[in-house]
Symmetry: C2
Subunit: 312 residues, 2 copies
């Protein structure tokens, strides 16, 4: 086959086939090479116990005009912020507000765009105006799947309950890492100036320098493509300069407040299983024949965290 006669779609399918999210169709399904299974083969071999249902008490739905973004909250890392976010979602605080910022290769951010504090929407009775900073927590009590790979930003990186995380044995602390899809609570200069009403999502290269400098509250498990394509704002830091550019928030609801039939029946892959370790290895050293040079390394922010519709 000469390059000139390549089928471009097929080329790309083969060329970058392992970029597939879990469950997407393969153009060609190669047999398992002796050297190990591909990610898809690992997932195909998963058992029900390798998956975990999202807890509706820890799940919020951000409804944009084009669809739903599903966010899993991490109360084990930011209990006070998560409690506030639950309260804000329950009261409908964000409904009618907007995504006000989209900065390329960095974050989108939503909340009340009102500049005049006096005119801002009240948080409502159930939410606190002031919270403690929750940048990190004690590692004790967390079940961490540590990657053997060097991280650079932290002494150890890995996964806690399905969230990318890191920890430091010297300080005995753990924190969620800023990866693509990580959700955090914007703050002012004071460390304790976030209350969860202003949230951002990472849409670019992992900004790990934010780790332990701001409160992270969860991660997007589905619908990132709705946030990542929002036009970039032309103001400083990607803020939209005109109100008409903002992306309206139809609603943000706690899944537990949504009728069962309207919920997203999602399961996420557990990160504390032998199967997950095999999945990581399938990405650390790609198994399909396209790869000539297995990387031999992976970063916590490069590990896919598969999500699927719950069966049955």
């Amino acid at each position: 086959m000469t390059a000139n006669t390549m089928n471009p779609s097929r080329t790309a399918l083969l060329a970058l086939s392992l970029a597939l999210a879990a469950g997407a169709a393969h153009a060609a399904a190669p047999a398992a090479p002796a050297k190990g299974r591909t990610m898809q083969q690992v997932l195909d071999a998963s058992q029900p116990g390798d998956w975990r249902e999202l807890d509706p008490r820890n799940t919020i739905y951000l409804e944009l005009e084009r669809g739903r973004v599903v966010i899993e909250l991490a109360p084990q890392f930011a209990p006070e912020h998560v409690a506030n976010i639950r309260a804000l979602a329950h009261s409908g605080y964000w409904n009618g507000l907007s995504v006000n910022r989209s900065q390329d290769n960095y974050v989108v951010q939503w909340g009340d765009p009102e500049e005049d504090a006096a005119k801002r929407k009240p948080l409502g009775a159930g939410a606190k105006a002031k919270l403690p900073a929750e940048f990190a927590r004690k590692s004790a009590g967390l079940k961490t799947t540590v990657l053997p790979d060097v991280d650079g930003w932290a002494k150890q990186a890995g996964f806690v309950d399905g969230f990318p995380a890191a920890r430091d044995s010297a300080s005995g602390s753990s924190w969620l890492t800023h990866c693509y899809g990580t959700v955090g609570a914007g703050r002012d200069m004071a460390p304790d100036s976030s209350n969860g009403s202003e949230l951002y999502v990472v849409i670019g290269q992992s900004p790990r320098h934010l780790d332990r400098n701001i409160t992270t509250v969860g991660r997007v498990v589905q619908g990132m493509e709705l946030l990542s394509v929002l036009p970039r704002g032309t103001g400083a830091l990607g803020f939209y300069e005109k109100p008409s550019e903002r992306a309206p928030i139809v609603s943000i609801r706690l899944a537990a407040d949504v009728p069962q039939a309207q919920r997203a029946p999602l399961e996420v892959l557990r990160t504390d299983t032998p199967l997950f370790a095999e999945l990581v290895e399938s990405r650390r050293n790609r198994r399909d024949d396209w790869y000539l040079q297995p990387a031999g390394h992976i970063n916590v922010c490069n590990v896919p965290l598969p999500v699927r519709e719950k069966k049955g």
Copy 2:
């Protein structure tokens, strides 16, 4: 100031102010702390010799309906592919073709979407149908600014002529790293099946596993926000399922073929200077008061590569 009275825009400006691209306005310009200069302060202190003009023979303009994407080619890493890309641009090969793929957190890709090889647009007289794979090259002859920070994917990572790159002393080879904005040439199963007519750009977390598995040809120096917001394709690997979804390519031209008055008069920061080393350090350990926990580390794909309009 209570969190409830925070001005959300100002909050964000302060909260994430160091995400600013070079030259963007700061909401507040803090005085230089004794501990070191911020990135903006470093850039403000730059001299003309710290910058380098883009060479019009190594620059292509991808014109989309919404604006121009400027790509710097790297002939020192992929001479044969760059020669082909120059020829394809010169002959107008891509004019009227389209961006056919947009996969979230991965790549956008353009070329001829035609599935039937017999119906595909001829490459034209100046371009070769077949090229050698150019995944890496000998390190000898390259001036590499090596980061002291551990990389994980490679023994050494840093910058060559303004491009993020890595090298391996055992093999004596160097290659461009897959970072946000890196441009590569799609290939089929055969390593030498790319010819530069099908190009992709990284729009997500650095897919470093592609390093040394595919030919990289350059990087986007301006206009990433035009590519990164393209709606994600719903087909496998992010291919658009309907032709109407594709983003038309108005033209791709070599800057040298464009009248001077229509060129983008851009300069990029040199990466082989003491000033650049100081810039990296300003990002490795953030200097402004917002940061409580300096990272003490940086990854090659997290270092901003400033671009500006040429003065005078």
